[in-house]
Symmetry: C2
Subunit: 289 residues, 2 copies
């Protein structure tokens, strides 16, 4: 459970820590970043809540740390931000590095059931269990009882599905350009086909699909903030399908999924930087309730 | 004078334009970025002032556009941000690409006098004359009479020297981790040695050295905001020498050079992101006076 500190970077009055640890669930050394706001360094007994940010395809923990602008809002609110990596690294499994949208950098926040990926592609367990245990163990200033979740694209899918699969575990959820219905888009079909296999299309696939999870949601009204740019090429290509999520919610009578279609915004970190403060505000409403 | 638009990216309610044009002074196609704040798209007759941001060694216009977060403050103030490139590109001069701190990506905002660099390494003329003529010609919404200047590292050197060499041209100046006394640091000596030659050490070198320029400043009190991180390795290595600038100002009786030594902050864009709002605020005080 020991954590290695690779860098400590001053940022918005707090510190961005670049960390790594030997992970059991993913069978490799995993890098992650943790932003501790200035309030974490004050000598009082108040614990700091955490916003868990899940990155998109191809990203490491660094992309959003540098370009997402979450530290700006988090430093004002007194919120930590935890940035995990997007997959195991260096397992040397067959096909792992053949595509940018599968394997390395593309773990999709599921536990693979199909060989060879069941050997380490367990990002669901990693993010929901192992990483929090490590982080809250190593940083007692953080409040394990107050965690919210957000993410971008593949990480937006992760945020929505982790929230919907674990009622009460996260205080709130939001997403940027989430892959909202992976079983019906090329990225999701490729990932779930590789990690689960075709034969689990009616079981595992649906259990990790936000639109399918909303259909079965029994937890009462939601308050989900989602931003999707109308200039996002992946949205236009049908990879994101937020309308399917909205429709499923409406049909199931689930209230509170609010998709803001942002005119002209694209799939990049420019969009996240623009709306990061809003998502921090959304999380703060629940983390500091 | 025609400008090619390579990308239009929504950012903080405005648009970040990736542009290029065929430049005479640098004898090549030059890329640059221009952030137009939301106020530039309102149908009124108010012109928009401009903050000119000069980048550091190795950077293009994109680094600060993505990671510096000047757009955050600029969008609120109604200020455009102009991001030029740091050198000509692709001239294929001997030695141009041999080092990261000289030649490509390292124009130092001077007009070279020594062969082969006098053929195109004219970033001083490019930034002070040609680029503004192109930009104000192509974007009449911008106010050519209200321009402030800032920059990082080599670009901090550029901001200080362009301001001090051209009294009245820029409404205000600020800098992040500026190379403050290039004639006395390795980066500056290498650059000036290459662009000017040893024989101009007492003339051209000093004419582009902020510390030397402050010694001769006759323009009255200044108001210069400078941030330097105490965790900046290049500061520790003596590449920045802000103390020399402060000392020269004190000896010359020039008031208003304020260096904020920011504890633990490094030379990265994490530092700029943290203090970008302050520098936008500093510029706004003069641009909207």
């Amino acid at each position: 459970m020991s954590v290695t500190t690779k860098a400590t970077i001053a940022s918005f009055g707090g510190k961005l820590l670049k960390l790594s640890h030997a992970a059991t669930s993913t069978q490799c050394e995993m890098s992650f970043n943790l932003y501790l706001p200035p309030q974490a360094f004050q000598n009082d007994t108040k614990k700091i809540p955490v916003l868990l940010y899940l990155s998109g395809l191809t990203c490491t923990a660094d992309n959003c740390s540098e370009k997402g602008f979450f530290q700006h809002g988090a430093s004002k609110k007194g919120m930590a931000v935890l940035y995990p990596d997007t997959s195991p690294r260096g397992l040397n499994l067959a096909g792992e590095n053949d595509a940018w949208d599968f394997g390395t950098g593309a773990g999709f926040y599921v536990d693979a059931t199909q060989a060879p990926y069941d050997a380490g592609y367990n990002m669901y367990t990693y993010v929901t269990e192992e990483l929090p245990a490590v982080v809250f163990g190593a940083f007692p200033v953080l409040d394990a009882e107050r965690v919210s979740i957000t993410g971008h694209s593949m990480g937006g899918h992760g945020a929505l599905t982790l929230f919907l699969r674990n009622p009460g575990k996260y205080k709130s959820v939001s997403a940027f350009a989430p892959i909202s219905n992976p079983i019906n888009c090329p990225w999701g079909q490729k990932a779930f086909g590789g990690y689960f296999g075709e034969e689990l299309r009616d079981t595992k696939w649906k259990e990790h699909d936000a639109t399918e999870l909303v259909r079965k949601w029994k937890g009462g009204p939601l308050d989900v903030l989602i931003d999707v740019g109308t200039g996002d090429n992946f949205y236009k290509q049908g990879q994101l399908l937020p309308e399917n999520l909205e429709k499923a919610a409406q049909e199931a009578g689930v209230e509170g999924i609010k998709v803001r279609y942002q005119p002209d915004y694209d799939h990049s970190y420019y969009t996240m930087a623009t709306f990061a403060d809003d998502h921090v505000e959304h999380a703060a409403k629940y983390l500091f309730a």
